[in-house]
Symmetry: C2
Subunit: 971 residues, 2 copies
């Protein structure tokens, strides 16, 4: 293979002006070289990429060439220099604004070896448990930490942010009350951005929101009540009596809280909370101008099966050993679809892992020390401000000091004085300021704050002189007395050497893009290039609090504008919002914009959303969250939406038709020819069209949602635009829309942006901190490069399909026999012939060092393969070799040459312990089990557990580290 | 174990002012917590670290407390902020100075995943081949690349820098001529720093250096002639005739060259060179203000067994599979001692790996394209300068353009104008300037240069307008026609995805500090903390050419001054030079200072150097390189130097005594009581004392060479001061000395520094680019922290010795029964009893997931164990468990319960392929082979080859990737 590549290699210098940078990015991003692409085209019977596109993309929807990212592309270095210039327009001050976002110190060993390590940031959600034990162990640590700190027994593995977590709590309360108590109370001392998001989410479900003083609230009709602890103005109080009262009225108590505070404060669990949530960001995750951060979410035992999001659970494997895996998958929208109460899919795994590692690094005592120090500093601050004559709130507090002023002018003067000291504090109201201290506070910060509150002059006292007067952690009866995080993992890894080894040990168990292709259909596991990742850990981007005055955020403003511009070019739309933190969140926002549009046109009664049966589970779930009635339309035998059925449904619901949700190319991996017709049908019947952009990697530069006539779409920047999946998040799910919907884009009450939707996330630009990744990708590829990426993604998929078609049934193809950027392998015949299922094949692929394609979506009994443009011909050939060899293994079973049950597939994957065990009682050999193709002897990522037992785990739900007693018995 | 730790954990907040940063570094660096230290002290029968020190360090040499790094230490963040302030005093201009150092682009995927990845930077030299196949594969790539580009058939795996490589070439020529032709010719067109270093090295060996025009040189008495290609002024010419002439006179031809140039120029091999060397820095390694960079060194076949430094060779393993290992170890100074011609030990493995990865990433065509582009830009420059009326040298050139001026003033004006354009060029002579372009050059650089040469005005032409006139790579008959680097590895990994996977694949084969303790005695494998590593990739440090005007290097000046100050405090000396690039290089410099001292006192005849038999092989080799006569003194039964014998030797050689070389604590791991007496003896007999600082980790803060009365010592910053070993380098070997030797420290002819020794390295401050690591370590630990590190290192060693003493014989102890920071396990009795050797035990340790301790140094048939202070009690206990279990395995052999040959030790290490093979013909079980202790089932780094066959490999010396024909046959 390499010889050909070598012989055909051509000189880049010869091609153009050699004064241009030589090392442009597209050739590093695209897997096949031009020469290999030719060979692959030959295999599929074509002679150029242009022909392939012509053969694949319907003529009627071909778009004009992209402008995005400019046509003139430079080197990776040039792009880095450009984004550095943008970054430098952010002014990084110290931010003591609080509101759920706090300065902190990312331990360097975690920064470098988790956040900046492809082994941690490239994998997908741990769908294949056997090659994901490392990050699941880490997520189990996260869950355990949340359980221990909140005092509630069940926690999930993260949600998108604190605000959406609060909204999830509301819907959980609503569901727990069987939808019979459509009122949700929110304390007026909850963070304002959270109130906004909950309100956005409540309205379409008909849930009434009452915001008020919790002490005087009437909870009789409430399914739940949300409190903040510590409150948004810093005060802390005991909610025990409130909880008791609420429970008497069958009202669930939800507390939004702060993990650091909980190391020294009485737990929500001890106060009777039913649901506890918050942002784990201050555990070692940078501000990032609002995200990504991992929200946490914990519930009492009776609510555990209503817990939204992913949960890691403990089970056993085929050999009886402990194994972790995603628990309670049956709750998920993939199964419940329009009956789901949550659409959460991508969450914040990488950031949850970071927070868990931070907790491990510090341990319970270290965290407590940090909390005590922060509280001590806050007490010094309060003491000093009182001595300066300020009206400091006379309440207990953890890290946040509230000062009230006689008038607006006095408060304003202090705000300005603080800024002149390079410090941002929070304007709580026209006449009140809060200062939220954090781990990074030093005596100089306190001295600067004293000056800011003292007409810019140093007072007579110093931080040190006040220190003697106070006792850190003195919060009276609210002081935590219960111990926490006694498990070994939180108590054994406090030196850097031990931490480093633990991080590498966990990573060594997982299969990521640094090992092999991960051909998860619908997930677009392309290269996450290092140059794209570099800017996100620059302080200019990651040290910005989301609510700093906008004049400090010039860099982000420019970044956002450029991305809006480019994404609109790519989608063929005019409006863009970067606020949604995931694809599902984008779906929600897009549908909501359509809903607002109809309302604005006095068509608020339009509540029918048509969704094809092949849609991703998040689609119906999102529709349901908006109170829409989902009408499902079938597909025909070729995998295309049944247009007559669609027309019938649209016409039938014509008076109530709100929208169509459609994925393009279809989730079956086909460019449906009827797309314009379908869109027209919806428009003719008064609806608008939502396009799910999960498959945008097959569109960029060739066609666009706008070109096809859709009204709004979301993009998954974590698919098409190179944001790494982080083992299950972060994600960014921007929506783009046409002029009709422009007025209704997501907005934000603190940082003006968008239209009039209200907020769908806590931060105005969602996970702004990782937008540089997509910016870099688009800038380095340029319009031509992006288009070529799309062509190559389609080429790679068609090459694979062509190479496998004689061995497996390829389920759906377009009318020209081409697939799009992914395709489905139908295994139902094999199941019938010999009992081998898609799961068996998926697990057997692990023995070949591969991560399985997507299992049973969109069609059960199938595998959906999406190679992406970043995979080389060699890697594709390696996959073909594996699949063809597996087919032979199946044939042996079909033909009775191998046992029906005791065979390499049913027993897959095989671990090292398995194949080196003294006893071997299989009719096949150890070597057949471990090394079915010779190359595996040289390179193979091994599974660390045998097949995980899902049923056992869900029956015996266990989703924390072992309780401390287990370790005590052992030692 | 963790329960105790938890229960005893105390609050850091309670201890001091909580306004101080909480998270100070020492507790992250030190393995045992205070509580564990107590338990460990108990095990060895003591109750405090103070008692341990009292028991271990002789009273007479106890020093006053350290000042180093200040007593007040801050957090890691504070230290990073401090060094950032220092860094910002470096002014980073574009540097087109050349002279062997060139700007380049480090591909981000290599930067992050090699240079910044502990898997690559923490391991030691690949002494244990079976867990080092990854980095050896990479070094083999480096060797292959050098062979392919230079056209010579044998290359080593790096030397310290181009200048010392040239000196090594000289001694090789001298040795090849059987020392009978003591003249070495150097072309006056060689880089001046190289001429300096060669001169320094020549003088003490009595080799005469003649510098002149090679075309008129008289080579009759010359053993070798050194040429630069391209020459230092940029000119290139064909040396074929020169070589022929030299060979007729039995004079070897040495060419210092440039790898990038060789992609387009006729090779030195084709011109008849016998030895080819140079700096590989421009292959993706930053300037770093002079280092670290990997020099390369290649020879013709007849010279291959004289090749200095490490060579990776191909051999086979126990099972007949291909395996790599260090070849021709018998040539090394460890064996040859005072008969060695080179003392090179630590080299530049990490940088060689980086350069090799860069070559892989670009491949032959990519490298050629870069070279063509650079040459094209240089041609544009020359064309433009001619059009501006400048006297551009009328010669062929690759990247360097020479301009001569009528007078000094005209040249000076251009130098200043260039600086005003933020560009450094080289002042070749008072009336000549050269400009050396590199990969980073862009049209703006050319435009700026044109202005600088045009009285600050833009000329009428532009770089683009000149482009049409030239043909990149047009160097006439000197154009390379031979192909190169056709092996697959250089042609398959050009996308970032493939590169990333290759990097991770190789790393997965190696055992590094991210996996387990590496208790290599004398190597001090302590934590290389991330915070220490962060500054070295800041542009302020790594984008500085070593020869920029000193007023641009304010940051480095301050860094060097502070390190001088701290290292003098630590060693008890007054003078310091950071120039030597390794410990061995420091030895050479220190001995040379003593030599210069004697010469200066009219005692130039003093040429006897006393060295104890237990000394490291580099000691006698260094002495030999200075022409000293080595007199070996024995040790007594307790491992101490035999003082009467020392006295006798000193008195015998009293009139010629130059020096004593001594390691303290001794290489036997003992604080010898007689140290002051020994030093006095030497002084009384007219000699000075050189202290080998390899064991400084047992001295820092407790005693010092100065305190003991020594005159000079070297330090290994890559041992005691946290510079990572990089798999065999980089290193930094500064020397510190008392007032007597101060005038004789290493100097530099381009950047003034030191005394009058001349240069021992090409760059004034050696590997300046990694000095921030040691700066950070000292600053973050502070004097008290450093002292506690030493105490803990001694504690860890004594704890291990105490835990193992009932199972193995501990060879040497001090008179109180204590060891120092390392100790020797004597296995000779076991060898006698049952034939099991230290190698068998070392290889068996691999099965337990450990890297073996140092084998057979300083005593053959032993293992020397140095745990360092960074290892936790848990890790030490894990090692004890392994060693004790191995002892039981040995007992089984001794008692006849296990076979004498077919046993777990003789067959160790066992690979995965081995234990999962279908055939298993051992009397022990697979599980005994693979999982001798249960914890290994949860965590184990596996060997990837079985025991490597050294003898076979040396007999069939092969040190490149397979020749292209092999791959052609295979495909
Ligand atoms: C077709 C489709 N739609 C929506 C989503 C949801 O996106 P996210 O996981 O970012 O919420 C996915 C996720 O893979 C998907 O495949
Ligand atoms: C005692 C001793 N001296 C000198 C050296 C040489 O140091 P370097 O490898 O840095 O040249 C070593 C190396 O391990 C050593 O152990
Ligand atoms: O993650 C997905 O559901 O595809």
């Amino acid at each position: 293979a390499f010889l050909t590549r070598r012989l055909l290699a051509t000189s880049a210098v010869a091609k153009g002006s050699f004064l241009q940078p030589l090392d442009t990015f597209p050739r590093r991003h695209l897997g096949p070289s031009d020469e290999e692409a030719q060979q692959m085209l030959q295999k599929i019977g074509l002679s150029s990429l242009k022909d392939l596109v012509k053969d694949t993309v319907p003529a009627g929807i071909v778009r004009a060439p992209l402008e995005a990212g400019n046509k003139e592309i430079g080197s990776e270095q040039a792009a880095l220099a450009e984004i550095k210039a943008i970054a430098s327009k952010n002014k990084v001050l110290r931010s003591f604004i609080g509101m759920g976002y706090y300065g902190n110190i990312v331990p360097p060993v975690i920064l470098r070896n988790v956040l900046e390590n492809p082994a941690w940031y490239t994998p997908y959600t741990p769908y294949q448990a056997e090659v994901s034990q490392g990050r699941m162990e880490s997520l189990l640590n996260f869950q355990t930490m949340v359980v221990e700190l909140t005092g509630l027994p069940y926690a999930n593995a993260s949600l998108l942010d604190e605000s959406t977590a609060a909204a999830e709590a509301m819907t959980l309360c609503h569901a727990a009350a069987k939808n019979k108590k459509p009122l949700f109370f929110i304390s007026n001392n909850v963070h304002p951005q959270t109130i906004d998001v909950v309100k956005t989410r409540a309205a379409p479900l008909g849930i009434e929101i009452v915001v008020g003083d919790h002490q005087t609230a009437d909870l009789r009709k409430a399914c739940g009540a949300l409190l903040q602890y510590p409150a948004t103005d810093g005060g802390i109080q005991d909610y025990t009596n409130f909880s008791a009262k609420a429970h008497e009225l069958d009202c669930k108590v939800v507390m939004a809280t702060d993990l650091l505070a909980l190391t020294v404060l009485k737990t929500p669990g001890e106060m009777g909370a039913d649901i506890v949530l918050g942002n784990s960001q201050r555990f070692g995750v940078p501000f990032g101008y609002g995200g990504p951060h991992a929200a946490f979410f914990a519930v009492i035992a009776p609510l555990r099966r209503l817990l939204p999001g992913r949960i890691i659970g403990v089970t056993r494997d085929r050999l009886g050993n402990r194994a972790l895996r995603l628990a309670l998958q049956t709750r998920e929208q993939h199964i419940k679809r329009e009956k789901a109460t949550s659409n959460i899919c991508t969450a914040q795994a990488l950031l949850a892992n970071t927070a868990a590692m931070y907790a491990i690094y510090h341990g319970p005592q270290g965290l407590t020390d940090i909390a005590l120090r922060v509280n001590g500093a806050a007490q010094i601050l309060a003491t000093g401000l009182r001595q300066l004559g300020h009206a400091v709130a006379d309440v207990s507090f953890f890290d946040t000091v509230r000062v009230d002023f006689p008038d607006h002018g006095a408060a304003e003067a202090v705000m300005q004085a603080a800024i002149s000291e390079d410090i941002n504090v929070r304007r709580l109201s026209p006449t009140a300021i809060t200062i939220s201290l954090d781990e990074t506070v030093g005596r100089n910060d306190l001295a600067a704050l004293f000056r800011a509150f003292n007409s810019c002059a140093d007072p007579e006292f110093t931080p040190e002189s006040l220190e003697a007067e106070i006792t850190p952690g003195d919060v009276g009866s609210l002081r935590r007395t219960s111990s926490f995080m006694q498990q070994p993992v939180f108590n054994e890894n406090h030196t850097e050497t031990e931490m480093l080894r633990y991080i590498f040990h966990l990573a060594s168990k997982d299969l990521g893009l640094q090992h092999a292709m991960i051909s998860l259909g619908s997930c677009t596991m392309k290269l996450n290039a290092t140059a794209e990742m570099i800017p996100i850990t620059w302080p200019e981007f990651n040290q910005m609090h989301p609510f700093v005055p906008v004049d400090q955020a010039g860099g982000y403003t420019q970044l956002v504008q450029l991305l809006h511009h480019w994404l609109c070019d790519i989608t063929g739309f005019v409006g863009c919002s970067l606020q949604p933190n995931s694809g599902a969140s984008g779906e929600y926002a897009g549908l909501k914009a359509i809903q607002r549009y109809h309302q604005n046109n006095d068509q608020g009664h339009r509540n029918v959303c048509i969704i094809p049966v092949s849609a991703h589970g998040t689609n119906p779930a999102s529709a349901a969250m908006l109170g829409l009635q989902v009408v499902v339309v079938p597909c025909d035998a070729l995998g295309n939406i049944d247009i007559p059925a669609l027309r019938a449904a649209a016409e039938k619901h014509k008076d109530h038709l709100a929208s169509l949700m459609i994925t393009y190319p279809s989730t079956h991996g086909v460019f449906e020819l009827g797309i314009r017709e379908m869109i027209d049908i919806i428009h003719e019947n008064g609806g608008l069209v939502y396009m799910d952009g999960a498959n945008m990697n097959a569109q960029v530069g060739l066609t666009s949602p706008g070109e096809m006539g859709a009204d709004v779409c979301h993009l998954n920047l974590h698919k098409t635009f190179c944001i790494p999946h982080g083992g299950g998040g972060p994600g960014v799910g921007p929506i783009c829309c046409n002029e009709k919907l422009l007025p209704f884009l997501p907005s934000h009450s603190i940082i003006p942006c968008g239209g009039d939707m209200g907020a769908v996330a806590g931060a105005p630009f969602g996970s702004a901190g990782i937008l540089p990744i997509s910016w870099m990708y688009i800038r380095m590829m340029g319009g031509d490069g992006l288009t070529k990426a799309t062509q190559t993604a389609i080429l790679n998929a068609n090459y694979l399909a062509a190479s496998l078609k004689d061995h497996y049934k390829i389920l759906y193809k377009g009318n020209t026999g081409r697939v799009a950027h992914e395709f489905i392998i139908d295994l139902r015949g094999i199941k019938t012939s010999c009992g081998i299922s898609e799961t068996d094949i998926a697990k057997r692929l692990i023995d070949y060092g591969f991560h399985a394609p997507t299992m049973s979506f969109p069609v059960s009994g199938t595998l959906m393969v999406e190679p992406t443009e970043s995979e080389s011909k060699e890697e594709l050939d390696r996959f073909v070799e594996a699949m063809v060899t597996i087919r032979a293994e199946i044939t042996a079973i079909e033909e009775g040459r191998a046992d029906k049950n005791n065979n390499v597939l049913k027993n897959a994957p095989h671990t090292m312990a398995d194949v080196s065990a003294d006893v071997w009682d299989h009719p096949y050999s150890r070597e057949e089990a471990a090394y079915p193709v010779p190359a595996l002897r040289l390179r193979k990522q091994w599974p660390t557990v045998a097949r995980a037992d899902d049923v056992y785990g869900d029956r015996n739900l266990f989703c924390t580290c072992d309780p401390i007693e287990v370790y005590m018995e052992q030692s």
